[in-house]
C-alpha cells in the first residue's frame, strides 16, 4: 500500500496512518515524498505493521511508540523515539539530537551519525529494555542521565573521536559500548570504563548482527574491540546534600 505525503500536513498524514494501521493487523505502508512531516508513528500500537518512509521525516518520529516498525529511507530530524515504549525504528541515514529521549523499550538502528544527547535518560523497566545502535559517531552528551538499556556506537567510518565530550554524564544505569578505544577525557561525571561480561557481549553481538541485517554494509569492521562505559554508582548525586 502506498500513500503520497506530498501536500499533506503532518496532521493529515498521521491521521491517515493511524486509521490504516488500526484497521489491518499486518499492514505494510510505503509513504512517498515524506518531507519534514512531524510526529510520524506517534503512539503507534500495531505490533505487526510496517511503515516505510521515503524522504526525510520531521522531528519526534515514533514518539510514545508502542509497537510496529518504521523504516526511514533518508535522514531523520530531532527527537526520534521520544519516550518510546516498544517497536523498531531503522534509519538509513543520520539522525539528529536527542534520539531516544527517555526511551524505555524498543530498538532504534541508525546507519549514520547521531547528534547531541542521544539516549538521554533512557531507562529499562521490568521486561522492557531499550537499545540504540549508531553506525557512525555520536556528538556530545551521549547517554546523559542514562538509567538503563544499551547504546552501541560502531564508528564504521573509523573517525578519530567516535563520541563527543561529556559522554554518559550522570549515568546511573545501563551501558554504552563504543567501538575502539576512548579515553576518560570523553566521559562525564558518574561514568567509568569497564570490562563487559559474557551476557553483555552476547547482547552486543546480537545487536551488531541485527544492525548488519538491516543495512547490508561492509561487515568487516577492522576490529570489534569495544570500550564499555557504565555508571560508577546507581546514586551519582547521593552525597551532595545535608538535611536542614
Amino acid at each position: 500500500m502506498q500513500i503520497d505525503a506530498k501536500g499533506l500536513s503532518y496532521k493529515e498524514l498521521n491521521r491517515k496512518l493511524k486509521e490504516l494501521v488500526s484497521k489491518e493487523d499486518a499492514l505494510e505502508i510505503d509513504v512517498l515524498n515524506v518531507n519534514g512531516h512531524r510526529y510520524i508513528g506517534t503512539g503507534l500500537e500495531n505490533s505487526k505493521g510496517i511503515i516505510r518512509l521515503h524522504g526525510v521525516p520531521g522531528n519526534d518520529l515514533a514518539a510514545f511508540m508502542n509497537g510496529g516498525s518504521i523504516f526511514v529511507y533518508g535522514n531523520a530530524g530531532d527527537g526520534v523515539g521520544n519516550t518510546m515504549n516498544a517497536g523498531l525504528v531503522v534509519i538509513h541515514g543520520d539522525a539528529r539530537d536527542v534520539v531516544g529521549y527517555s526511551m524505555r523499550g524498543g530498538k532504534i538502528f541508525i546507519k549514520g551519525n547521531v547528534g547531541y544527547r542521544a539516549g538521554i535518560h533512557m531507562k529499562a523497566y521490568k521486561n522492557r529494555f531499550p537499545s540504540i545502535v549508531v553506525g557512525g559517531r555520536a556528538e556530545d552528551f551521549l547517554g546523559e542521565y542514562m538509567a538503563g538499556g544499551i547504546i552501541v556506537v560502531l564508528n564504521s567510518n573509523n573517525e578519530k573521536n567516535p563520541v563527543g565530550k561529556f559522554t554518559a554524564t550522570g549515568i546511573h544505569g545501563g551501558t554504552i559500548f563504543v567501538r575502539g578505544k576512548i579515553s576518560e577525557e570523553h566521559l562525564g561525571i558518574g561514568a567509568q570504563i569497564g570490562t563487559p561480561n559474557e551476557e553483555e557481549i552476547n547482547l552486543l553481538n546480537n545487536l551488531i548482527s541485527e544492525y548488519f541485517s538491516y543495512f547490508q554494509v561492509n561487515e568487516n569492521l577492522d576490529s570489534l574491540e569495544f570500550t564499555k562505559i557504565h555508571p560508577k554508582s546507581h546514586r551519582p548525586f547521593a552525597k551532595l546534600y545535608v538535611l536542614e
Binding site: 503532518y10 496532521k11 498521521n14 512531524r38 510526529y39 506517534t42 503512539g43 500500537e45 522531528n59 519526534d60 514518539a63 510514545f64 508502542n66 530531532d78 527527537g79 521520544n82 519516550t83 515504549n85 539530537d97 536527542v98 529521549y101 527517555s102 524505555r104 544527547r117 538521554i120 535518560h121 531507562k123 529499562a124 523497566y125 521490568k126 522492557r128 546523559e144 542521565y145 538509567a147 538503563g148 550522570g170 546511573h172 544505569g173 546507581h234 546514586r235 551519582p236 548525586f237 547521593a238 552525597k239 551532595l240 546534600y241 545535608v242 538535611l243 536542614e244
Partner: protein, 497 residues
Amino acid sequence: MFPPQFSVVIDSDKCEKCKRCTINCSFEALSYDDREDRIVSDDRKCVACLRCASKCPKGAITIKKNEITFSPHPTWTPEIRLDIMKQAETGGMIIAGCGNDLDYPCLFDRIVIDACQVTNPSIDPLREPIEVSTFLGKKPKQLKIGDDFSLETEIAPNIMIDTPIVIGHISYGAISLNAHKALAMAARKAGTLMGSGEGGLHPDLYEFGDHIIVQVASGRFGVHSTYLEVGAAIEIKIGQGAKPGIGGHLPGEKVTEDIAETRMIPVHTDALSPAPHHDIYSIEDLSQLIYALKEETDYMKPVFVKIAAVHNSAAIASGIARAGADAITIDGFRGGTGAAPKIVRNHLGIPIEIAIASVDKRLRDEGIRNEVSLIASGSIRSAADVVKAIALGADAVAIVTPALIAMGCTVCQQCYRGVCAWGICTTRQDLARRLNPEVASRKVYNLISAWTMELKEVLGALGMNAIESLRYNRERLRGVGIDQKTLEILGIKAAGE
C-alpha cells in the same frame, strides 16, 4: 552540638505509660525506659510534628520550642549561624522541605477586597444562585453562527470544573498511595481536578482519570500512551515555584516496588529529573512537545504548561500561549516542595501575586488572553487568596499544602526525610497505613467546599452572581501599604482611591 530545637515535656502525673506515643513517633524521639518505667525523649530527634501529643489518650505530652540563646546579633541570626556550622561539618548543600520560609512581604495580605454599600446592592448567596463553574482551555476569539443558528466555530477541548479551586501536582512517591488516592477521591467528589505530579499514575487511580491532570516532566517518569489517554488534561512541567530552574530528585530509598512500577524504572534507583527538558530549549521546541502530546491524544485533551514564577514570566507566558498550550499554571516562589536546596527554595523566583498580574496583563495587551486559561498556585492559603488571585487575573487556583494540612499534615517541614508520622509524605507501608483515604478525602473535600462557599459569599458581597465578573476585575481590589510601583504592576489602586 547545640541544644535541641524542641523539648518533649511529659507530665508524669498524667502519663499512664501506654507507650502509644513511642509507637507513633516515626522520628524515633520517644522510647520507653524499662528500668525507670517511664517514657524518655531524645529531644534532638523531635521535629514538633505533634503526632505523639495528638495520640496521647491522657493529653500528657506538650512540645515546647527550646529558645536557643545565642549572643544576639541582627546580621548573624541563629539560623544563619547554625546553617554555616552544618555546612562546615558536612560540606553539603542544605536541603529543605515545604515552602520558602523567609520573611518576604506577603502581598495577598496587603490587598483588600471591595464590597457593595447602598448604591450597588449585594447578593445573598444563601438564597440566590451564584455561578462558580469554570472552563479550563482555549476560548475562541469570536464565534461564527451559521444561517441555521448552528455553531460553526470549532471549540478547542475545555474542562468544566465546579469550582475554580483545583488540587495541584504532587507525585506518588513524594506522597503515599493512600494520600494520592485521597486527593483523587476528593477531586472527583468536588467536581474538580487534581494533578498527578511527575511520578506517573498508579493503576488504582485510573478510574479517577476524568479528574486528573497527568504531568509530563523532564524525567518522563511513567509517561506512556495509557497514562496520557486516561487523564482529563496533560501538563508539561517546566518548573516549580519552590525550585525554579532545577530538576527533581527522588532518592533511591523511596523508590519502592510499587513506585518503581508506576514510574517505570528499576527499584531503588534514584529518580532524577533533569533541570530542563532536553528536547526543549526554545518556545518552538516547547510547541513541538505540546503538539506531540496532542497528536498522541488525537487533539482531545487540553495541554497545560506549568512554569515557576520568575522575572520574565510574562514574556515566557506569551510564548507558551503562542506555542499552542491550552492553559498555563504559574507557580509562585512560596510554593511547596518535598525537597529542594534551601538556597533555591528561599531566594529564586517571584511572588505569585506579581506574576499572575503581569502575565494576565501581558496576554491581554497582546490580545491572546483567550488562547490560554491561567492557573495560579504557590501559597494559596485561604479562600481570600483565591478571590484575590482570580481578581488579579487567574482563571483558577491550584492548592497542595492546604490539601495536605486537611489530610493531617502539621507542616513540620520534614517531607524530605520520608518518615512522615502522619502517613502522607512517605512510602513506608507501616506509616502510609496511618492515613485512611476515605477520611482524608472527606476532609479535603470539606476544605474545597468550605472555600467555595466563602468564595460565593464574597462574590455576593461584591454584588456579583458569577465568577466571570470577578476575573481580571482589579477595580474591586485595593492595596494597603504597597509601594506605587508594585501597585502599578499589580494593576490596583491604593485603598482610599
